[in-house]
């Protein structure tokens, strides 16, 4: 699935006290791996939540291919995520009692009673990501394998946009490299829009675009070669 364009403008979010986002402009293009960097507390995660519709900005627009998340109700934003977005977390957030396959199928149950139709795709994704499927519980997998299950879960609905929040931060270097390669492939080979909040230098090096945040403001936005 080709990615979606993002055109965000005049984004502002104020918490009581800290964590203010003040972003005059941000554009993302499909086929690019964009790294969102900055020191802890710079608002990386908050921006990710804003752009994925989990948070509503106080002002501004977040237009994904013309659809402005800022103007949508919560249920519409839920549906947008369901249809267009995949999410990857630092700590995987898998359901430990479920098998790797069932974990990948979780997003299907939001809309369908039976996830059977998506099983072949889930199996293909797990095989592609080299995750052993024959485990009763996902907790029996290594951390690197668990993150790859989480990636398969993010991809099961074939979303145009992938959000990742520090996807390599709790992995060893080798597992991190695999995840970085997968994310790069999702953007460059498959043409999705991939936005990664990270402070991992290895991941930043592979990013096509880097957006540096400092106290919620863009310090620098650069396109790498």
């Amino acid at each position: 699935m080709p990615g979606l364009n993002l055109a965000a403008a005049g984004l502002r979010l104020a918490f009581a006290g800290e964590g203010i986002i003040d972003l005059p402009e941000l554009t993302l293009v499909p086929g690019t791996l964009t790294a969102l960097t900055g020191p802890s507390g710079s608002g990386k995660s908050t921006l990710l939540y804003l752009l994925s519709g989990l948070l509503q900005p106080d002002a501004g627009s977040i237009a994904w291919a013309g659809q402005d998340l800022a103007g949508m109700r919560e249920s519409q934003r839920d549906r947008w995520r369901r249809q267009h977005a995949g999410f990857i977390f630092q700590n995987f957030h898998l359901i430990e009692e479920l098998s790797p396959l069932d974990n990948v199928l979780v997003p299907l149950w939001f809309d369908h009673f039976s996830a059977a139709a998506a099983r072949p795709r889930a199996i293909a994704l797990l095989d592609q990501l080299e995750v052993p499927r024959r485990r009763a519980h996902v907790s029996l997998l290594s951390r690197g394998e668990q993150q790859r299950v989480a990636i398969a879960r993010a991809l099961i609905t074939d979303p145009a946009v992938i959000f990742a929040d520090e996807p390599t931060a709790s992995l060893d270097a080798a597992s991190g490299q695999t995840v970085i390669a997968v994310l790069r492939d999702l953007a460059l080979e498959q043409g999705r829009t991939v936005l990664v909040a990270t402070h991992d230098a290895a991941l930043r090096q592979q990013a096509g675009t880097t957006v540096q945040l400092d106290h919620g403001r863009t310090r620098q936005s650069e396109a790498a070669a």
């Binding site: 908050t46 839920d78 995520r81 995949g86 359901i95 979780v106 939001f110 369908h112 009673f113």
Partner: protein, 416 residues
């Protein structure tokens, strides 16, 4: 949507807590079910036991005492019916048969009851084996009696069972007029001639002898002219002793009410066992209603306490729910997941409790039947299903409280 796999995963995550919650709900439900089912078993069992005792005529006094003595063979000191009244009854055309009942002896724990062959046939609906007694020293045993046909048994004075043959019981019997001072000692051995069908009454454990045996053993004559050795009616009107109770089978319904009215005199009382039982049941029913209300209140409290526990447990899982939201789950999906989780605990607990309560009531019924001889069977009926249904309905409604609490949590807070 399908919240089941995720609700099931959540249940498995805290399986010991889940099992504990189910057990608590089950035990509370079982308590309510057992009380309700046991009360009905007691009512139905005791009413069935009294079925064959159409109309009881006795000396004026407590109907309860006469009923318990006659139907449930739980003897108490009752005044004796004036022989003049018995004489009138024996001549009354509205009576199909008139059966004198006499107590006061026992063989081991089993009471020895005196009556007529006609009443034995009526109560038992034809014998299971052997024949009904035809002589003074013959007897018929109840269906559950350990004695076999042909056995020869020593009869001792007293009421049997817990009262035994001690002096107290003898004094009671004398006071009740079923024995005369110094009249003890003429208890010939008896031979078992037949066995009754099961009647579901304490008579199933009794040894039934001709009423003449009962009278003569207590020095009251035989109810016949000297030298007349036949047993059963007709009795000699002038030789009849006083009786604790007489069971009358009226010829028809009109006769039943006619006799009941006619024998409510200063010298006698007449009543249908059912009317006494109805009064007892209304007392029992009041007690049951109070107990049921208390158990229902306890059940509601248990459900409330468990909901509080569930909220605490689900609070620990708030990150998972936030992640589901981030993955695109709607609020209604989160609501459904939590609701299914809570509902599963309550419904499972209620079903287990229903079975447990049934089993418990069955055990109590069995123990009571053993103890009293009144056949009782605990059954699960509409009222038990209603009780469980009410609790389940309450639980399902209350299940939406934790569901609403979890569903209202801001997503981003859970993700941090």
């Amino acid at each position: 949507m399908n919240p089941l796999p995720i609700a099931w995963a959540s249940l498995r995550r805290n399986r010991f807590t889940a099992i504990l919650f189910i057990a608590i709900v089950a035990l509370t439900v079982a308590l309510g079910i057992a009380i309700s089912a046991q009360e009905r078993a007691l009512r139905i069992g005791s009413a069935r036991a009294a079925d064959k005792f159409d109309l009881i005529v006795a000396a004026p006094g407590s109907h309860n005492d006469v009923l318990f003595s006659t139907v449930y063979l739980d003897p108490s000191a009752v005044p004796l019916l004036d022989p003049a009244m018995t004489r009138l009854l024996l001549e009354d055309g509205q009576a199909d048969f008139v059966a004198p009942i006499g107590f006061g002896d026992a063989i081991g724990d089993a009471p020895v009851v005196g009556t007529t062959a006609a009443f034995v046939e009526h109560l038992s609906g034809g014998l299971a084996e052997g024949r009904v007694f035809a002589a003074l020293d013959e007897a018929v045993v109840g269906a559950l009696s350990p004695h076999a046909i042909g056995d020869t048994l020593e009869v001792s004075h007293g009421h049997g069972g817990a009262t035994g043959t001690d002096a107290d019981a003898a004094a009671d019997a004398i006071a009740a007029g079923t024995a005369v001072p110094g009249g003890d000692g003429d208890h010939p051995t008896i031979t078992i001639a037949g066995r009754m069908q099961p009647t579901g009454t304490p008579w199933d454990r009794a040894i039934v002898v001709p009423i003449e045996y009962n009278w003569s053993a207590h020095g009251l004559g035989t109810g016949h002219l000297p030298g007349d050795s036949h047993i059963g009616p007709p009795f000699d009107p002038d030789s009849l002793p006083g009786l604790p109770a007489v069971v009358v089978k009226p010829v028809d319904v009109a006769a039943a009410y006619g006799l009941r009215g006619a024998y409510r005199t200063p010298q006698s009382t007449a009543f249908f066992p059912a009317e006494v039982l109805v009064e007892l049941y209304s007392l029992l029913g009041d007690a049951t209603a109070i107990m049921s209300a208390l158990t229902l209140a306890a059940q509601a409290l248990v459900v409330a306490a468990i909901l509080a526990g569930i909220v605490a447990i689900l609070d620990l899982q708030r990150q998972q729910f936030a992640v589901l939201r981030a993955l695109g789950a709607s609020r209604s999906f989160i609501f459904a997941t939590v609701w299914v989780y809570v509902a599963a605990l309550i419904v499972t607990g209620a079903i287990v409790g229903l079975l447990l309560g049934w089993g418990f009531a069955a055990l109590v019924s069995e123990a009571l039947a053993q103890q009293t001889g009144v056949a009782m069977r605990a059954e699960i009926g509409m009222s038990e299903f209603r009780l469980v249904g009410a609790l389940v309905a309450l639980g399902l409604v209350l299940a939406s409280l934790p569901a609403l609490l979890i569903y209202r949590r801001p997503v981003v807070e859970g993700l941090r």
